[in-house]
């Protein structure tokens, strides 16, 4: 009974991890957060696989998780390369900047309103100013909206 219970609970945790990752992958717009969510879904699957392997007294589950780790490492390398390249082209991590890749029939996504930044949203670390203020690059100001 105890082994069945452990399998049951692990499948529960795995399903929750997978579902949370799915929600994040669909709804977040930051490309890096999207990739974190994809990794989270892989973790959910890994938890389930290890639990099944233990339940059936079989090493296959752990083997599969090792290969999941391998593929996740590859995926991370490619994903970070892609993100860096996309960032260099658009200057943002926003996935909506690449909506030109959508199909013809899909209407363009338009941000209905820009969320104003409130004071409490600006959680900046408080650094003591020191030295002379360096000359500001105008291009830099355009790019970094809040610094």
């Amino acid at each position: 009974m105890s082994e069945t219970a452990m399998l049951h609970n692990s499948l529960l945790v795995g399903a929750l991890l997978f579902g949370i990752g799915l929600i994040g992958f669909i709804s977040r717009r930051n490309m890096i957060v999207m990739f974190l969510c994809a990794e989270m879904m892989l973790q959910g699957v890994s938890v389930s696989l290890v639990a099944w392997g233990r339940f059936h007294d079989n090493w296959g589950g752990q083997m599969l998780v090792i290969f999941i780790l391998t593929v996740a490492a590859c995926e991370a390398a490619i994903a970070l390369g892609l993100i860096l390249m996309l960032f260099q082209r658009s200057g943002r991590l926003d996935i909506a900047a690449w909506q030109d890749l959508r199909e013809d029939s899909v209407p363009a996504y338009v941000d209905r309103e820009i969320v104003e930044v409130r004071e409490e949203n600006k959680l900046w670390p408080k650094l003591t100013p020191s030295g002379i203020e360096p000359p500001v690059d105008p291009e830099e100001i355009m790019h970094r909206e809040h610094v």
Partner: protein, 341 residues
């Protein structure tokens, strides 16, 4: 799966959908803390759907780790600042590694910490710091279709949970079990079967008023075939569901499986195989024995990914920053969006 478990699962599903939707970035809309409360309530309900593990030490450890994993995963998805997202994800990974350890997969626990938390996550943070020094972009404070995605995720989890609960709990009818416990065979002076010897007791109504009872007995339970007729008579009068319908012994079809197939390995099997003391040695033997080709393919995949990543990053940079820039979502606050690096 009992009626109460279905209600439990449905309530957990709805609460988690509402909670995730409220927690996701929705501009400056209020209600985030209500979402946190809904999420915690759904977590409690999901925990109620889990099964009792019947060994106190592991139970507490497992529970704490599972709650850590799920809560920090939800936080990783819902925090506005991507740096915090990455840090919460790291905590979630550590919890997952702990779960692996509890289940006896020690190597995988360590490998998860080293590979994920040590390498992948640090690289993510590096890219994050490189690419987004401001950390407060407006697109982190809005999300696509928060309600729809939360509903989709919650329904998926709810359906998976119910499917798991149904398939791992063999149906046991309490009425039948308590009736069988009182059954005294003719000629004997004490009940022969106890509740512990029953693995499955599924009573179903089939057409034209007939009933079918599938009874799986554990191997050590004894019920001679000569006593089956008496048991049938006893059940018809003592199980409320049958006596309410005034069912006769002829209308009840009794199917008894005396030795249910033992699919699950015993604890001793596990100690000799997957929970062995020489975990890494056995794992390595398995990996390089049965899965040698797969290992080679995995290594090649890593190499190709490395080459591909370098090729992507070192590929020709955009020549003209302004005209090459893609069409941006209108309404962006970012003005000089194309920065030639």
């Amino acid at each position: 799966m009992s009626q109460s478990q279905i209600y439990f699962g449905a309530a957990a599903m709805i609460l988690s959908a509402v909670g995730m939707w409220l927690m996701l970035p929705r501009g400056n809309a209020p209600g985030r803390w209500i979402g946190v409360l809904c999420g915690l309530a759904s977590l409690v309900l999901y925990a109620g759907l889990g099964m009792d593990m019947q060994s106190a030490g592991v139970e507490w450890l497992y529970g704490i780790l599972a709650v850590t994993v799920v809560v920090s995963a939800a936080a990783a998805v819902t925090f506005r600042n991507p740096v915090y997202c990455a840090l919460w994800f790291a905590l979630s990974l550590l919890g997952t590694a702990g779960l692996f350890m509890v289940q006896g997969a020690q190597f995988l626990g360590i490998a998860t910490v080293v590979v994920y938390a040590g390498a992948i996550l640090v690289t993510f943070l590096f890219v994050l710091m490189l690419a987004q020094p401001e950390g407060h972009a407006y697109y982190d404070r809005v999300s696509w279709e928060g309600m729809l995605s939360a509903t989709a995720g919650a329904v998926l989890v709810g359906v998976l949970t119910m499917a798991v609960t149904v398939s791992l709990n063999p149906p046991i009818e309490p009425q039948v079990v308590s009736a069988i416990e009182k059954f005294i065979p003719p000629g004997a002076d004490a009940p022969r079967l106890t509740a512990q010897s029953i693995q499955k007791a599924h009573l179903a109504k089939i057409d034209d008023g007939k009933f079918e009872l599938v009874l799986d007995l554990k191997p050590y339970a004894t019920l001679p075939e000569t006593e089956e007729a008496a048991l049938k008579q006893h059940l018809v009068t003592n199980v409320p569901r049958l006596s309410d319908h005034k069912a006769t012994a002829e209308q009840l079809k009794l199917i008894i499986n005396r030795t249910p197939i033992q699919l699950n390995p015993s604890d001793n099997d596990r100690k000799a195989n997957i929970l062995t003391d020489q975990h890494v040695a056995r794992l390595g033997g398995e990996l390089f024995g049965s899965h040698l080709v797969a290992i080679e393919v995995g290594g090649t995949l890593l190499l190709i990914a490395l080459v591909g990543a370098i090729a992507i990053v070192a590929h020709d940079r955009p020549k003209k920053p302004a005209s090459d820039a893609p069409h941006l979502a209108t309404g962006s606050t970012t003005k000089g969006t194309s920065r030639h690096v």
